[in-house]
């Protein structure tokens, strides 16, 4: 067998074997591999570098994100001359299957989420350290780098975009009725009561899907108890029976008790709540930008107002913003790691972000060198909000263990929405803490 007949993916498999001291007879492979990957984003068929075949695992299954991602891939293939095969799986299915996927037969680059949800797999040893890719990336803030870093201080993730959670309202309604976006919790309550007195439904709410309520909890918690408490609570270092947590539920319950929420949240999907907002049936809603934008006709986007979730404790102000980051990682079992790194390096460039956001305009760029001139007002406001933040959180189900978020928190919040008297809250917190203890007592690795 002569080396010139080997395809790059075989080469990398060979090098893996060699690493395991099995392919003793194979020589000079590393040299060739270096030639393959050396060119980085600009290798474009130059020199003796062989064309690489890279596979790309994607959960960008919706038409627009799929097209946007394809634009990124096209940009890369044009620049590098390599071929990329995109393997798209419906996003929930992709998430459901992630553990098995990473373990058995992953692609060379795999889509995922920043924060704890990524660190979990890094800690398990299923991701490849890509610190060397990061050393060549520019334009990312320290907060972004931190969100891409594992517990061991190495980078495992390259972000592509994020989106902000906030309080949304309709500018025209507010103008017409003389409402002001609330600055703090008291304003928020007073405004909601006024809207109610005026015959409106103050706050749209849905939690049939299980995740939308988490945003409100996170915000009340971070505004009341600060970012660090959020992180510690999510990491299992704080008790759910702590008075601080009960206070969060207490504040939240007051919104229900005073009838400020759209009733029946557990029976409403996020699309229906988004639709209510789009039809001006509800005055305000706490959501991520895309959730609101997607259910509102394009023509009305300029009418969507965005404001930080109200201040609860002045000490914390609005210093934390919930802005989940999506991006990509390199599975340890990838067959063509050099190719994967090359692609990740490209994804970390402003060009890649521009290509993506040109197609999918409901998200915002994370690379500060990206071109933001094409943003619509909602994107600009959303980006400004994220830029103002001292702390960026990733959303409850990305900041804590998946087993805790999926099997405990969702049910607990739905039960809270159903029943929220003081004694209910006490019982709920106890139950959550009992379960948290059982789950967090099992080590991650």
């Amino acid at each position: 067998m002569t080396q010139s007949l080997l395809t790059p993916s075989q080469l990398s498999r060979r090098s893996l074997l060699r690493g395991a001291a099995l392919g003793a007879g194979v020589v000079t492979v590393p040299g060739l591999l270096a030639a393959c990957s050396g060119g980085g984003g600009s290798s474009g068929g130059s020199g003796g570098a062989k064309q690489q075949n890279i596979t790309f695992g994607s959960n960008y299954s919706d038409p627009t994100p799929m097209k946007a991602l394809q634009a990124v891939v096209d940009g890369y293939t044009k620049k590098s001359g390599n071929t990329v095969k995109v393997n798209t799986v419906a996003h929930n299915d992709y998430q459901t299957n992630i553990t098995r996927y990473l373990q058995a037969n992953p692609d060379d680059v795999a889509a995922w989420f920043a924060g704890y949800r990524m660190q979990f797999f890094a800690q398990k040893g299923y991701l490849e350290d890509i610190s060397d890719v990061w050393s060549g990336l520019n334009g990312f803030t320290d907060a972004l780098k931190a969100a891409s870093t594992g517990a061991d201080g190495k980078q495992y993730f390259v972000p592509i975009y994020n989106y902000t959670w906030a309080l949304f309202y309709r500018k025209s309604t507010f103008q017409q009725k003389g409402y002001q976006p609330p600055k703090n919790w008291d304003d928020y309550i007073a405004l909601a009561k006024k809207i109610k007195a005026d015959g409106g439904v103050p706050i749209g709410f849905s939690d049939q899907d299980g995740w939308p309520a988490m945003g409100t909890f996170d915000y009340i918690n971070m505004r009341k108890n600060g970012y660090q408490f959020h992180v510690d609570l999510m990491a299992g270092k704080q008790s759910w029976e702590d008075q601080k947590v009960k206070d969060v539920f207490g504040l939240w319950a007051s919104l229900f008790d005073q009838g400020l929420y759209q009733p029946g949240a557990n029976g409403r999907t996020w699309e229906q709540a988004g639709t209510s907002f789009a039809k001006k049936e509800v005055a305000m809603v706490v959501f991520g930008t895309p959730h609101v934008a997607l259910q509102t006709p394009q023509a009305d986007h300029a009418d969507i107002g965005i404001t930080p979730f109200p201040i609860i404790d002045e000490a914390n102000g609005t210093d934390s913003v919930e802005a989940p980051i999506d991006g990509f990682m390199l599975p340890k079992k990838a067959k063509n790691k050099e190719g994967g790194k090359d692609l990740l390096k490209y994804i970390g460039t402003p060009d890649a972000e521009n290509a993506y956001l040109k197609v999918d305009n409901s998200n915002i760029a994370v690379n500060s060198n990206a071109d933001t001139s094409g943003y619509e007002q909602l994107q600009k406001d959303s980006a400004a909000l994220a830029a103002s933040a001292k702390h960026i959180s990733q959303y409850l189900d990305r900041d804590t263990r998946p087993d805790f978020a999926q099997t405990v928190v969702i049910k607990a919040f739905q039960s809270f929405i159903d029943k929220h008297s003081k004694s209910d809250i006490d019982a709920l917190c106890k139950s959550m803490q009992d379960q948290a203890k059982a789950i967090f007592s099992q080590p991650v690795s």
Binding site: S61, N105, P106, H291, P297
Partner: protein, 312 residues
């Protein structure tokens, strides 16, 4: 009840026990009773299809319109746009083929193995009959999700040459998915067919047994034709189940391009840009093959053609 003596190609070539006897059964039935019966049946049928009409109606209307007026409203615009959109956008053609790669061999192998086993259990005194029966019956009582993790580990560790499987193992192959369908569904079919064969009078088959036919001939020429109604019903159900399955494909495969037709629906359903009317259109398209199979096999198990009558 009128027994229709149609099936002249008597399967075992024996003379019929009661040749072509027609019994006008409903003489005593009065017309009003018949009317009540039909009224009830119409009521049931309509109640059962009504939800599907809702889906059909939704699939013909633009999402923006139903979002504005609600689903229970008069239409302004009806068209088939979502059907073509679902077909092309969901890459349905390819996923249809993927499903057929799994469903057709799956159903055939399952029914063959199950019917032979049921035959062996009822007509040939093979050893450990009771144990085998319990083995298969109990096996299909469990929710299939239970075995996902061990099965995945098993598949992942059984190596296949790369020319057979790009992943180098049974994992991520159609073969693996077909195999687990066969394993699970055979249990159910053995159980059904075993019980079904118990209801068939032994006289139907004993002649050929006495004739000294081989076991294979008894199975192929005597038993199979006789259990056609049960096989027809099972084939219909099995096809529908395997066709609509997504669990096994999801947990035993990773390549999106190999996923079955249900993946097209999942893509639409899980979409952030969710459009339920489009989803309804896609679901209508996806339900079609199951319906075709049902209509094709319907005559095997319905419409007053009974086993006894077929002897005539």
């Amino acid at each position: 009840m009128t027994t229709v003596a149609t099936d002249a190609s008597s399967t075992d070539g024996r003379p019929a026990t009661r040749p072509g006897r027609q019994v006008p059964v409903h003489k005593h039935r009065t017309r009003p009773a018949r009317m009540v019966l039909h009224a009830f049946l119409w009521f049931m049928a309509i109640l059962w299809i009504l939800p599907i009409f809702l889906l059909l109606y939704a699939s013909l209307r633009p999402y923006a319109e139903t979002q504005k007026d609600g689903y229970f409203s008069l239409p302004h615009k009806l068209n088939l746009d979502y059907y073509s959109q679902a077909w092309t956008g969901g890459s349905m053609g390819r996923h249809f083929l993927n499903t057929l790669y799994v469903a057709i061999p799956g159903v055939i192998i399952t029914l063959f193995l199950a019917s032979f086993l049921a035959f062996a259990l009822t007509r040939v005194k093979i050893p450990f009959r009771r144990t085998l029966l319990v083995l298969f019956t109990a096996g299909n009582l469990l929710p299939p999700q239970i075995i996902v993790t061990p099965l995945y580990t098993l598949y992942y560790n059984v190596h296949l040459p790369t020319w057979l499987s790009s992943s180098g193992s049974v994992y991520d192959t159609y073969f693996g998915v077909i195999l687990i369908h066969v394993a699970f569904q055979t249990g159910f079919c053995v159980f059904v067919l075993y019980n079904y064969m118990l209801t068939i009078p032994i006289e139907l088959t004993e002649a050929s047994i006495v004739d000294g036919a081989s076991v294979w001939r008894q199975y192929w020429q005597v038993i199979l034709p006789v259990i056609r109604p049960a096989l027809g019903a099972l084939a219909t159900l099995e096809f529908t189940w395997i066709y609509n399955d997504f669990l096994w494909a999801l947990v035993l495969m990773t390549t999106g391009d190999k996923y079955p037709i249900t993946t097209s629906l999942n893509n639409l359903k899980q979409s952030l840009y969710i459009n339920n009317n489009l989803l309804a259109a896609a679901a209508m398209i996806v339900a079609l093959p199951s319906l075709v199979v049902f209509f094709a096999l319907q005559k095997q198990f319905i419409s007053g053609l009974t086993l006894g009558a077929s002897k005539g």
